[in-house]
Amino acid sequence: MFSSVSASQASEVVNLLLMLLLVPVTVAAARGVDYPGRRWLAVGFFTIAGVYVFSIAERYLFGNPVFPFKQLLIAVAGTAFAIGTWQLALALRGRAAL
């Protein structure tokens, strides 16, 4: 099976492994802070985790039909990150102005 798997396919597995290894670190670090936008950043982060699962599903189970949904998930993650980072930036700007 793996003889036909290209280098790009292996990177999806590496991404998923990295995600699994670094989720506990990231969650533990994020729990230590209480900034506005944290929930949106968490939504973005876990949506990207979903993207990696979709990537594996796309490569090994369902093939190309999954691809557009994966792209939509990335768009959702990006939107969540955008909202989260702007809330964070505005909150810190407000705090700096005090």
């Binding site: 990295l18 670190v25 670090a29 982060f45 691809f67 792209q71 990335i74 993650a77 990006g78 702007w86």
Partner: protein
């Protein structure tokens, strides 16, 4: 809607959203000397730029403009999670640092206020270490006990007086005047080598470390020389 159009729209939204997130990260204000926040911004912006790049690369690919950027996508995507994890860790560190700095400010203000109270009080106040050496003395105590600082170490020089009630005690050992660790309004006499004496009314309370061991004592005193308020009271 064909899959290709959906891909282009989804990737365009993704690219624009991650661009907005990238700009949002850059909009986070810097703090003077806040290297942790600057590091967090760099890592976070790096993570956002990964999917910004991937989104635009896909859009160009699906619009049949170029596939030249395609080869970088998978390498960059591997960086996304570590960059984000490091950014989250830096954000957490930044918050911990901010809390510690705020607490240090509160402690400093409290310490400053206590020092003003101690220096203003007409009572002499000294802090002894466990060996009886004077570690701290307020202005009134310095005056009454004739204490001087070592110009090199800024520590209080050992005074020449001895506790007259404890013959043979070492010079400057105020703990020799304390019969128990907890003393209330006890009259004691300090004796200088030239024969001068000074009567004091002493109060003392021991200081304990968090493990319960005794690390010193706080001694407060007023003059009990004839004519002083304390002598009248005694």
């Amino acid at each position: 809607m064909s899959a290709n159009v959906l891909n282009v729209i989804a990737n365009l939204i993704s690219a624009l959203a991650f661009t907005a997130a990238f700009v949002g990260v850059l909009a986070i204000p810097d703090r003077p000397g806040g290297f942790v926040r600057a590091g967090m911004k760099l890592l976070f912006a790096g993570a956002m730029s990964v999917y910004m790049f991937v989104g635009f690369s896909h859009v160009l690919q699906f619009l049949n403009v170029t596939t030249a950027l395609d080869i970088f996508e998978n390498y960059l995507k591997v960086l996304f999670i570590p960059l984000l994890a490091c950014a989250a860790y830096a954000l957490s560190m930044n918050e911990q640092l901010r809390i510690m700095q705020r607490q240090a400010g509160v402690l400093s203000a409290e310490h400053d206020m206590l020092m003003r109270i101690v220096d203003t009080t007409p009572t002499g106040v000294v802090v002894l270490d466990v060996s009886g050496r004077i570690e701290f003395a307020n202005d009134r105590a310095r005056e009454m006990l004739e204490l001087e600082d070592d110009p090199d170490t800024s520590r209080i020089l050992t005074p020449r007086w001895t506790c007259g009630d404890s013959p043979g005690s070492a010079p400057g050992d105020l703990s020799a005047c304390l019969t128990t660790s907890q003393v209330r309004d006890e009259a004691r006499t300090l004796r200088w080598p030239d024969g001068t004496t000074r009567s004091l009314s002493l109060n003392a309370t021991p200081i304990f470390a968090s493990d319960g061991s005794r690390v010193g004592a706080v001694v407060a005193f007023t003059s009990a020389d004839p004519g002083s308020a304390a002598a009248t009271a005694i």
